[in-house]
Amino acid sequence: MFEQKLNLLFDFQKFAGSSKLQDLIQDTSARYKTQALTEEELSYVNAAGVPAMMNVKDQGEKNKDDPWNQ
């Protein structure tokens, strides 16, 4: 029953928007928000979402026996 009360109060908050409570909610959101990728990190991700750095590493592995890379 108490959990039901909490659910209702937090739901009502989405409607009424008490600024005091909203500050606490925003603090929590700030602490646990997903970190956005930096521009540099984004450049490593191709359109398919596969990081291009993986391909560079694979190339390195493939070429390790290449005498021109010794």
């Binding site: 039901q4 109060l9 908050q13 008490s18």
Partner: protein, 160 residues
């Protein structure tokens, strides 16, 4: 006490709040618009019978909005979007829905240690599952459940 409002004033003051509340539950903008209209049609129909001297208009509009959403989800039978814990039509708690109670809740939350407060907010405001909260807070699921119960006991005491 709030002064008596006309329907036009109510629409002006609450239209955005209602939409914002609906959009917190419905991602489809067309459906949100339809529901927003449905809410204000109901308010219009019942407006003349609602006694503003006896009850809070804010709570009434919230209740109409919430019940409209519940009906919508029941029709679509998509309970997951609202969450079973939200489908409550019991009027037991209607009397607590005011800014004063929200302020009491925020004072109670401020007394909790930060981790417990964060857990409560993520679980009851964001509707995150405890297992997901455990991952975010870098703790085991069993510890998260313990922390949750601890926080609930404290809140129950602070709000009683």
């Amino acid at each position: 006490m709030e002064s008596i409002m006309t329907y036009e004033q109510v629409y002006h003051d609450y239209s955005k709040k209602v939409m914002s509340y609906i959009r917190s539950k419905i991602t489809n903008p067309t459906e949100a618009e339809d529901l927003h209209s449905a809410v204000f049609v109901k308010i219009y129909e019942k407006f003349s019978t609602f006694d503003q001297t006896k009850a809070s208009i804010s709570t009434w509009i919230y209740t109409v909005s919430r019940n409209t959403l519940i009906d919508f989800f029941r029709t679509r039978k998509v309970y997951d979007e609202l969450g079973d814990e939200d489908i409550v039509e019991d009027d037991t708690y209607q009397g607590i829905l005011d800014e004063e109670t929200l302020n009491e809740l925020s004072e109670a939350l401020e007394k909790l240690p930060e981790r417990e407060r964060d857990l409560i907010i993520m679980h009851y405001y964001n509707h995150s599952q405890l297992k997901d909260i455990a991952l975010k807070m870098h703790m085991s699921y069993s510890n998260c459940k313990l922390l949750h119960n601890k926080a609930l006991m404290k809140l129950r005491k602070y709000l009683s």
